[in-house]
């Protein structure tokens, strides 16, 4: 078993095939999109492969340590960050092939015109715990 992160980008991913911003969709198309995402997560729970799904607000900021006794420095939010994460899903599957298959299915979520978005999702394996047997 291996866990994979399916990462969805607002910006920074290669352009989707059906590349229309959500605010240009009809309300019904938006509803259909979210329904698809919910159904997909529910299906994965049924197959015993679902771990987590979260969506991120596109606000936010950069924060860093600024020295002992000083408050952290903050910067942003930036309107035009190159790469912006929209959200993720974490799955626990038997093979990488299965992770790719599920990411493909998630990328088929309907968008403008009710047609699949074909958006690019980033698929990243988790680092695991060390195996017990090493030699």
């Amino acid at each position: 078993m291996a866990k994979y992160l399916l990462l969805k980008h607002y910006r920074g991913a290669p352009a989707a095939v059906n590349d229309v911003r959500m605010d240009q969709w009809t309300p019904e198309e938006i509803s259909a999109h979210f329904q698809y995402m919910n159904d997909f997560a529910a299906k994965l729970e049924q197959t015993g492969e679902f771990v987590d799904a979260q969506a991120l607000s596109d606000g936010g900021m950069w924060v860093r340590f600024d020295g002992e006794g000083r408050p952290p420095v903050t910067d942003g939010p930036f309107a035009e960050t190159k790469d912006l994460i929209a959200g993720w899903m974490v799955i626990d599957v038997d093979t990488e092939k299965r992770a790719v298959e599920l990411a493909g299915e998630l990328s088929a979520a309907p968008g403008a015109g009710g047609k699949p978005i074909h958006e690019w999702l980033e698929v990243r394996p988790f680092l695991t715990e060390a195996p017990t047997i090493t030699e």
Binding site: D92, E129, A130, T132
Partner: protein, 381 residues
């Protein structure tokens, strides 16, 4: 309360229910309910006969569930009376359970989950925590697994090899949580070894005992990995090693070599050496040759190259490595190690860094990064 006792009774209780005519899926649910109930009640009200208590509660749960189901279907043909207990078996039932839970129609993760629950007597929550997935996901994984084997007859003989692969997975990929999956894998393999006399079952048990004997020495206090050569051998568990060696010798005497016996033999040779320098690498290479013959696995050939590097020098190890596909997992790590031993520290450092980037687990990545950093030689000022 003795949770291990409770868990060890699980397969027998499940066997009783199945023999009384309950189908496997319903019986397994009922036993799980009884386990959860036992965990709640036993601490303040321990039963006189734990097994009888579990059978009674599980059977009642099964009847309740069957009645509820029948009521839903508006059927009248519910079995109300408790039937006479079936033949008093135990060991056979346990073995059948192992086969069923490792049935070839199951994916590895389903087989692992089902084995831990039905044979191991763990709760769904414990299994979910151990594998870091939500409880609902694990519950679904288990019920799907049960549906997948619903049509398999309980008394169909199975393949020991599939059971061993499942137990190996539990042992090798045990994660975290409140259950020690390494210990659980040993317990389940030990139990299997009492149910069936098979040299590879013994081989796997020996491998587990010999490997887990090194556990305390394997991690530094900061959690980082300590390689075999640098471990404090005084911290190895000698009782576990002695048992592993004994189990292995009895298995090897039967002259039916398999991959687990060969792996255990290698682990035993490491256990035999009081210091890393005393390791009998020549014999280890011979066992790797056997292992290659039995498994023909590229990963085994990779490990063999390490052993050859120790037995015949790093150049010989590099020569053995050159015959292998450099896309193999851990290839770069092995190459780095052999180049370091050969004195080519620049190449070793570069390869350690490359291996770290490709490492599949955090501990190994950190370990390889430290190796690269040490060879790169920057000092903290």
């Amino acid at each position: 309360m003795d949770e291990l006792l409770l868990r060890s009774l699980t397969p027998g209780v499940l066997g009783v229910l199945v023999r009384r005519g309950a189908d496997f899926a319903a019986a397994e649910d009922a036993v799980q309910d009884a386990l959860v109930e036992a965990l709640r009640v036993w601490p303040h009200d321990p039963p006189r006969d734990p097994r009888a208590w579990l059978v009674t509660v599980a059977w009642r749960r099964f009847l309740d569930a069957t009645r509820a189901e029948a009521a839903r279907r508006r059927r009248e043909d519910v079995v109300d009376a408790e039937p006479a207990p079936g033949p008093a078996t135990g060991v056979d039932d346990t073995l059948q359970l192992y086969f069923l839970c490792a049935h070839p129609s199951l994916t590895p993760s389903s087989a692992v989950a089902l084995t831990l629950r039905a044979v191991g007597g763990l709760t769904t929550r414990q299994i979910a925590r151990a594998y870091l997935v939500p409880e609902a996901t694990m519950a679904q994984r288990i019920s799907r697994a049960k549906r997948a084997v619903a049509r398999v007859r309980f008394d169909t003989p199975g393949d020991v090899a599939t059971v061993l692969r499942v137990l190996y997975l539990v042992f090798n990929e045990g994660y975290s949580g409140d259950v020690d999956l390494t210990a659980e894998a040993i317990r389940l393999t030990r139990q299997l070894a009492t149910a069936i006399d098979h040299p590879e079952v013994a081989g796997l048990l020996a491998l587990m005992l010999l490997t887990s004997a090194r556990r305390a020495a394997r991690t530094a206090p900061d959690g980082s990995l300590v390689p075999l050569a640098e471990q404090d051998r005084g911290r190895w568990d000698t009782a576990s090693i002695a048992e592993g060696v004994e189990v292995l010798q009895a298995a090897l005497a039967r002259d039916q070599l398999g991959e687990f016996q060969a792996q255990a033999a290698i682990a035993a040779l490491h256990a035999d050496a009081r210091t890393a320098e005393e390791t009998d690498w020549v014999q280890i290479v011979e066992w790797y040759d056997e292992l290659v013959r039995v498994t023909d696995s590229p990963v085994v050939r990779l490990n063999r190259a390490v052993a050859v590097g120790e037995a015949d020098g790093p150049r010989a190890g590099l020569a053995a490595l050159a015959e292998l596909d450099d896309a193999l997992p851990r290839y770069a790590a092995v190459a780095a190690h052999l180049h370091e031993r050969d004195g080519d520290l620049a190449t070793a450092a570069r390869l350690y860094a490359e291996a770290a980037r490709k490492a599949p687990d955090l501990a190994e990545r950190d370990h390889l990064t430290r190796r690269a950093a040490r060879l790169n030689g920057r000092r903290t000022s």
